[in-house]
């Protein structure tokens, strides 16, 4: 624009000069390239004096700040011995505040008089233009030519809320070489650098308090306060050499930024249990890559947190899976951008989940709480419940992956074959134990025994009866045997007589006293006879007679006649009978 005007003026002068300059008319004008600007924008103010060479006074700029200038420009042309020319002086002005500014009249003394220009009004609007950074203003006060500022996106933050810190270099020097940088100490912050690439000068100049600077963002960091209180970002120090050129070794300088403080507030105490320190604005999604699987097949369960905030500080959520789902440590996938706006993007946790058995598994909704810095309150979001349907696996995976069972080889064996033939079927529910038949079976022998005992007792009674009758009939039997002996006596048969007599005597006492054949001896007989009163002489006689009879029976000795023995025997049997009966 300025060029255009200049060219135009020169062109006009050239063109018109032929007629006008000859008149040596003096012109004095003031021009601006625009009457309305925004704060931070520039306006070029030019006063030009035509056909005269003299000094002119700078006008009052009425609050506008001179950014550059004045620059002088003069052009003279001599055509056909006539000289024509103009001188101009230019300022670049800017305003720091919106308002109406009046650039006063410029004056020039030409000849004997004074020529004044018209005053110019400049409207300065509250602009979208670069407003001076207050940090910059602060930094500028140290060294107006070079300084570094630390700019924070906010001065007050909650614990965990992200703050973007920008370290900016302002310089008015042309050459600048950095030799050493010292980063600020960040006590109590978790810092993440924003990737900026090579440090380069900003395309646009920036104006601080009316001075123009080249700026370069040295570094940008996302700071996350880890504790409450006043946290300090200390100075950023840079050593550099300026104005170095081929001829000049330059001047070493140490540039130090301001230090800033951040007031960090503790998060409210009413945090829900699912709060794990997430601060910002986030969303959560729980997804399974499939919900219908076979046992022992893997499912990928992804929990994704997306949004803005301290994503990189998020920990893996505690999945509360049903006991039968085997869960492995999650794989963390970050898609996080760190830029001037802070940290944003997503962090996802991929869990490998293997159902070991068939069945329906309900994965209960996962709750996630973050602190919403906008509303200053906790917000809890819950995922949708997931239903996994696991059908029976083919068993191959289980055989391989079951760790503690060493019996896998045994599984290769087969069960034994079924029973064939007669299976000895019995009606269901029938038991021998406790059945009537069983009790009868147990009772029958007992009953039989009782019957047997009864029968035996009866028989014994009969046996006792036999002894009695034997005693009763002893007399009769003895007499019959005696009559046998009498027959033998008459026929003079010695052996038969003594046999019959012995039998009669033995049999009688045996029957009478219930004795066995072996029990008949002298001592026994005496005891039995003694139980009766006056039995002893009878016993003695009886024993003597038996001895005599036995002697005659087995030896050829006969001391008494047979008749006498016979009579004595008959008498003794009679006496014994009487004795027992008495």
């Amino acid at each position: 624009m300025a060029n255009l005007i200049r060219t135009f003026t020169a062109f006009v002068l050239l063109f018109i000069g032929a007629q006008r300059l000859s008149a040596q008319e003096i012109t004095f004008t003031a021009q601006v390239d625009g009457n309305s600007i925004a704060v931070g924008e520039y306006v070029k103010y030019t006063i030009s004096l035509g056909n005269a060479r003299d000094r002119f006074e700078a006008p009052s700029f009425g609050g506008l700040v001179v950014v550059q200038g004045p620059f002088d420009n003069s052009s003279f042309t001599i055509i056909n011995g006539r000289m024509s020319g103009s001188t101009s002086r230019t300022w670049v002005l800017t305003a720091t505040k919106p308002g109406k500014y009046i650039i006063g009249a410029a004056k020039v003394r030409v000849g004997g008089g004074i020529i004044e220009t018209e005053p110019i009004t400049i409207e300065v609007a509250k602009g979208a233009g670069q407003q001076s950074d207050p940090n910059a203003t602060q930094g500028q006060s140290r060294d107006p030519n070079i300084f570094i500022t630390i700019g924070l996106s906010q001065r007050k933050a909650y614990v965990g809320e992200q703050i973007v810190a920008t370290y900016t270099l302002y310089s008015r020097y042309s050459g600048l070489e950095t030799t050493k940088e010292t980063l600020p100490k960040l006590d109590g912050f978790w810092a993440e650098n924003v990737e900026l690439g090579d440090v380069s000068w900003d395309q646009q100049l920036s104006t601080v308090n009316g001075l123009q600077y080249r700026t370069a963002i040295l570094k940008r960091q996302v700071l996350i306060p880890q504790r409450a209180g006043k946290l300090r970002v200390s100075n950023y120090t840079m050593e550099c050499v300026v104005n170095r050129s081929f001829f000049n070794r330059g001047t070493p300088l140490e540039v130090k930024s301001n230090a800033v403080e951040v007031t960090v507030t503790e998060l409210p105490g009413n945090a829900p249990s699912s709060f794990k320190g997430a601060v910002g604005e986030m969303e959560m999604q729980v997804k399974a890559d499939r919900t219908q699987v076979k046992a022992n097949e893997a499912i990928e369960l992804t929990v994704t947190y997306a949004g803005k905030g301290n994503l990189k500080l998020l920990e893996a959520p505690d999945l509360e899976l049903p006991g039968d789902l085997e869960q492995y440590d999650p794989k963390v996938t970050d898609k996080i951008n760190v830029n001037a706006g802070g940290m944003s993007g997503s962090r996802s946790f991929q869990y490998l989940v293997i159902p070991r058995h068939e069945g329906d598994f309900l994965i209960t909704p996962l709750e996630f709480t973050y602190f919403d810095t906008r509303s200053g309150s906790y917000r809890t979001i819950a995922s949708e419940p997931l239903n996994l349907q696991v059908s029976p696996g083919d068993g191959t995976a289980a055989a391989v992956q079951r760790p503690n069972k060493t019996d896998v080889q045994v599984l290769g064996k087969d069960i034994r074959y079924i029973r064939t033939g007669d299976l000895e079927l019995r009606p269901t529910g029938e038991h021998l134990f406790g059945s009537v038949a069983w009790f009868a079976g147990l009772g029958a022998p007992a009953l039989a025994f009782v019957v047997f005992l009864g029968w035996r007792r009866k028989r014994e009674a009969e046996l006792l009866d036999v002894a009695g009758s034997r005693r009763k009939h002893a007399d009769k039997v003895a007499r019959k045997r005696l009559s046998d002996a009498e027959i033998a006596l008459k026929s003079s048969d010695r052996q038969a007589f003594y046999d019959a007599l012995g039998k009669a005597l033995h049999g009688f006492v045996a029957d009478k006293f219930g004795l066995g054949p072996a029990e008949i001896n002298a001592a026994n007989l005496r005891t039995h006879y003694m139980s009766y009163t006056g039995g002893e002489p009878v016993a003695n006689d009886y024993i003597r007679l038996m001895e005599a009879c036995d002697m005659a029976r087995y030896a050829p000795v006969e001391d008494r006649p047979r008749q006498q023995l016979y009579d004595e025997a008959a008498a003794l049997i009679g006496r014994t009978e009487q004795l027992v009966r008495a």
């Binding site: 069945g359 599984l411 074959y417 079924i418 029973r419 079976g441």
Partner: protein
């Protein structure tokens, strides 16, 4: 007389049920043929229909085998356990049950039982209640026979020996009856059950939502302690106790 009464009893029960012994035997024979031909499902259906009115350890064992072949481990275990209850000493059943149990997920270490208990079990052996009942009958018969002879006989030594023998027989009878009663109790005791559903949460209280104590899987044997609101309180072999929702168990 005993056999007569027993057979009479059998006759009554058989005539009252729809199936006769011969029909059941036919079904079993057909089932065995189907099994050997590899048609396990058919065999299972045939065995099952025979099992509606009749039972025997061998039949239960065959059914268990069918379930095993059809990959239904919990039912296989159930039937093996049933067969084993009728015939505790059956080696085939024990072997197959052991194989089936290896397919069960839950491995529960059993509490060590008293050595006396295991000796006791060894003496009781593989006999079922009816076997012991029969022994009791024989022992009882011999006891009274011996006693009768002892009473009747004259010589003192013979008498003494016979009395000693009868005392032994009496002891045998008593033990047999005791064992029979014990085994009968075991047979009629249905407190043991097998888990049928693939997975059961065992909880601390008989309602949904209470704390899950442990998770059990199909095929595991538990003892039912009590029931409330159709929930069952179960005890594991290792002594742990918890509540189980209904319809996840089948009693042995």
């Amino acid at each position: 007389m005993r056999t007569l009464a027993f057979s009479l009893l059998c006759l009554i029960s058989v005539s009252s049920s729809a199936m006769t012994r011969i029909e059941a035997d036919t079904l079993v024979a057909r089932g065995a043929r189907a099994y050997s031909a590899g048609e396990t499902a058919t065999a299972l259906a045939l065995f099952d229909s025979a099992n509606t009115a009749f039972t025997s350890p061998a039949l239960l064992y065959n059914i268990g085998n069918c379930h095993f072949k059809l990959n239904d481990v919990p039912h296989a275990i159930l039937y093996y356990e049933r067969a084993l209850r009728l015939a505790p000493g059956d080696a085939d059943v024990r072997t197959n049950l052991e194989l089936a149990r290896q397919k069960v997920v839950d491995r529960i270490s059993e509490l060590p039982s008293f050595s006396l208990g295991s000796t006791w079990a060894k003496i009781r052996g593989g006999r079922d209640a009816d076997e012991w009942s029969r022994r009791a009958l024989w022992a009882c018969l011999l006891f009274f026979l011996c006693l009768a002879i002892a009473v009747a006989v004259r010589p003192r030594t013979a008498r003494r020996v016979l009395f000693g023998l009868s005392a032994l027989l009496f002891l045998g009878t008593a033990l047999s009856i005791a064992f029979a009663a014990f085994r009968h109790d075991e047979l009629t005791d249905d407190s043991e059950a097998i888990i049928m559903s693939p997975k059961v949460d065992v909880r601390s209280e008989p309602r949904e939502g209470s704390t899950v104590l442990f998770v059990l899987h199909k095929g595991t044997k538990v003892t039912i302690l009590q029931q409330e609101n159709t929930w069952s309180e179960v005890q594991l072999a290792n002594g742990s106790v918890g509540w189980m929702p209904p319809a996840s168990l089948e009693r042995i």
